[in-house]
């Protein structure tokens, strides 16, 4: 095990040489792009599942299976399709979180208390207005937990993608640390990943969840 002091010094040095800053920025860029793509496709697939019953009946268990498939397993597939490029990493990020988002959208909408839909109908809500004013807000608590889960999967996809494709980023520094048998560097990057994850969870998802729970009176 490396000593905490050497890990700390290494983090400081990596920051000073700006290696870490560039790595974090390019990793975050990929992560955000991949995650946004997965939100769009995830919602779309979720709505398809709700709207067309046969999609859910025939592909529901396939989607559940795809969700349990680790991101890592998609990497060979992505490399064959996109080569050793940015696109493969983004593909791996997106594919990891799409299915947990669509399953959350699907189950969130299905578990809406039917009384809300009845009430909305008697007040003339239908079509697009029903979706935006009742269905989405009513399903939001479970959609947000799906988004959070998707975010965790996206992180895993990012790091494994970068390690294997070897593009500038946190995964690459991690992988180089391994090649150079530099355990301090490995632990340093692990700590950085951990703290970035915690910060985003606390300030983004934590806030959203807290405000929802507060409105619904769940705390």
């Amino acid at each position: 095990m490396p000593s905490p002091i050497s890990v700390f010094l290494l983090i400081v040095r990596l920051f000073k040489t700006k290696t870490l800053i560039y790595a974090i920025l390019s990793s975050m860029r990929r992560l955000v792009i991949g995650y946004l793509i997965s939100i769009v496709i995830g919602f779309f697939v979720g709505f398809l599942m709700i709207h067309f019953k046969y999609i859910e009946e025939n592909f529901g268990s396939l989607i559940l299976g795809l969700q349990t498939l680790p991101n890592l397993a998609w990497i060979p597939f992505a490399i064959l399709w996109f080569g050793y490029s940015e696109s493969s990493i983004i593909f791996v990020i997106a594919i990891g979180s799409i299915f947990s988002i669509s399953l959350a959208v699907d189950s969130g909408i299905k578990n809406i208390n039917p009384i809300y839909l009845k009430a909305a109908k008697t007040m003339g809500a239908k079509g697009y207005k029903l979706y935006s004013n009742v269905i989405i807000p009513a399903a939001l608590p479970s959609i947000v937990s799906g988004l959070k889960e998707g975010w965790a999967f996206a992180w895993r996809g990012l790091i494994s993608g970068e390690m294997l494709v070897s593009a500038t980023g946190l995964g690459q520094i991690l992988s180089k640390g391994k090649d150079a048998s530099n355990i301090s560097q490995v632990v340093a990057v692990m700590l950085i990943i951990l703290s970035l994850g915690l910060i985003i969870d606390k300030f983004v998802f934590g806030r959203i969840e807290r405000s929802i729970r507060c409105r619904w009176g769940l705390m």
Binding site: K118, A120, M123, N133, P137, R215
Partner: protein
């Protein structure tokens, strides 16, 4: 301008005879009338209300409102549900505005009208609260304001006060009478509480169970506002209770063991068989 329930029957399941909930119900409700449906549990009174609201479809028959047949739920019939059915993600004000927002009414007008109805139910100062911050009685007041705010002539109420404690219920009954007199809406009110029905209604419709049918109608010709403790109300309650007794027994018999009987267990005794107890 009236609400007509024409030959409504409703059965659940495939075999129509097995589960007939409503059997050929006919009813004419005039504009501005306050009608209460009472009956034992399982008599289909809530089902009938849902059919009028367009939330359930009848197996046969039709509902005619102001000369046109009702097909689906719509803003010409507002509904107040037993559980308030308010949206927890919206504030009190936004909940009351909801129907108007769906109708595309502009913001200023919406705010003005929502305030008017919130004042009517005495909850103006809670306009920015969320639903979970309100008590059960307050929630039903908001639900009432929300239903009034869509400006439908017909207001359908499905046991709205049954989950409240009796003091709150008394207050809300008084206020509903006042609001009804002020707004002149047509109200169809479902309840299992006979006293509540007598206090509120112009006409009490007694339904019988298995299958659900209209058994008898009582016109309540008493001055308003009525109070539950007034002797006239108690007189009507007695009359309707006697009418319902047989129905309650029928439903209870189907649910309890065969050795239970209404006479033996003195569930609803006749006044003349207790030899003056309680005098």
């Amino acid at each position: 301008m009236s609400l007509i329930v024409e030959n409504i029957s409703k059965s659940f399941g495939f075999n129509s005879k097995a589960n007939l909930v409503l059997d050929n119900v006919n009813l004419l409700i005039n504009k501005g009338e306050f009608v209460c449906l009472v009956g034992p549990s399982g008599c289909g009174k809530s089902t009938l209300l849902n059919i009028i609201a367009g939330l359930e479809s009848a197996s046969c028959g039709r509902i005619i409102l102001n000369g046109s047949v009702v097909k689906d739920a719509g803003i010409d019939r507002a509904v107040v549900f037993q559980e308030s059915a308010l949206f927890p993600w919206l504030t009190v004000m936004d909940n009351v505005e909801f129907g108007m927002k769906m109708a595309g009414i502009e913001k200023e007008e919406r705010k003005r009208k929502a305030m008017k109805y919130l004042k009517m139910v005495h909850l103006a100062k809670f306009r920015d609260s969320y639903i979970h911050q309100l008590s059960g009685g307050m929630r039903q007041r908001v639900a009432l304001a929300r239903a009034l705010a869509i400006d439908s002539q017909v207001l359908l109420m499905d046991e709205p006060f049954s989950a409240l404690d009796s003091q709150t219920r008394d207050i809300l009954q008084m206020e509903l009478q006042r609001i009804w007199m002020d707004t002149k809406r047509t109200i169809v009110f479902v309840t299992h509480n006979i006293e509540e029905a007598v206090v509120l209604a112009d006409r009490v419709i007694v339904m019988s169970a298995n299958p659900g049918k209209i058994k008898k109608e009582f016109k309540i010709e008493l001055s308003r506002p009525r109070r539950p403790e007034s002797p006239d109300v108690i007189y009507y309650v007695r009359k309707i209770t006697d009418e319902l007794k047989e129905e309650v027994e029928k439903v209870a018999k189907a649910e309890y063991d065969s050795d239970w009987s209404i006479e033996k267990d003195l569930f609803l005794s006749n006044a003349d068989s207790d030899m003056g107890i309680g005098l």
